[in-house]
Symmetry: C2
Subunit: 200 residues, 2 copies
């Protein structure tokens, strides 16, 4: 926060490498131990840099979390693009994107970091609420349905539940389902949440 323009000024060759290494180390640590127990010092050590450089690039632990826990641009773009396709297949297409993102270790680390952090620390819960809200509410809003915020949050509950069972607790048989079968199981539920009636 004290060096808001740090990213844009005084760059040396190698700066962006260090920044990426710090971001990667931070994601791994947030995913493994959660926001609360992650430390600037530990993240710096894992990235092989001085803790001061973490502050130089990111400002604070909170700002670092917000920065590295954003969805990768490609995933965020794909999510936004879903609304343009056929409405009757939105559930399947969202299921495919979600499962593919979760099976990719880089994106999975972000989702696990959000979840582990939100359940261990109220400030992280605030951050996660903001991040998740933005990701999914935009999609639901673009579909021109009633109650887009509720629909977006319901999609979030489905994803969180699957992540918890499959990647955090390892609850069988969900933990070892082939990705294609997880898509089959998720598609109708997501379709209902996004475009279906909200009760029976």
């Amino acid at each position: 926060m004290s060096t808001p323009n740090a990213k844009k000024t005084g760059r040396r060759p190698g700066d962006s490498n260090s920044r990426d290494q710090i971001a990667g180390a931070a994601r791994a640590q947030f995913a493994e131990v959660g926001y609360d127990r992650a430390t600037i010092r530990g993240i710096a050590a894992a990235a092989g840099v001085d803790p001061a450089l973490v502050i130089h690039f990111f400002g604070s632990k909170e700002a670092l979390f917000s920065d590295v826990m954003a969805l990768p641009g490609a995933v965020a773009d794909a999510l936004e693009g879903l609304a343009a396709g056929p409405r009757e297949t939105i559930g399947r297409r969202l299921a495919e994107l979600t499962v593919a993102s979760l099976e990719d270790p880089a994106t999975r680390m972000i989702v696990l970091g959000r979840l582990r952090s939100a359940s261990s620390h109220p400030a992280a819960a605030d951050l996660v609420r903001g991040l998740a809200g933005g990701d999914m509410v935009r999609l639901a809003s673009a579909l021109d349905v009633d109650r887009p915020e509720l629909r977006a949050t319901l999609v979030g509950t489905h994803v969180v539940g699957v992540v918890f069972a499959r990647y955090i607790v390892g609850m069988e048989p969900v933990a070892s389902l082939p990705p294609a079968e997880l898509v089959e199981l998720s598609a109708p539920v997501l379709q209902r949440y996004l475009t279906g009636p909200l009760d029976e």
Copy 2:
């Protein structure tokens, strides 16, 4: 573990009171900070007893967790009784039982304790897997459907997602939905998970 018969031998008047106070303090602490950061010493202090008494009654932190994180007998019985009712309303009846249990602070504390613990500690994840597996697989098995373990786990993913959004992260509008509306939203999803086709 070293005093397996402690519950049954040498009872003095007041023993069961102390035991209940320890169990209550343990549930509260597991729900608030998770298994990993909960301590016998902290639980004893909250219950107003000596740490040795916690060990006397429960044996170890792990045994204490398994004991106090079991569903209350009334909820476990109600869950088991659901299978006897009309199959076409199982989703609604399970939704009603789940929402009522979560709105009850005592049961909610158990569910939050399981969730917070499972996401912070692998040993707790093992315990949670065992507990959750038992609770729900019995119900699915009683329904005489294909793949009861998968169905039970899918029900678990729904409940976990709702608990996370509503009680841990406070994600609106799910966080402040009236309980009756949460039942409406959950019933068709749970019906599908328990008796419907598993894909579309």
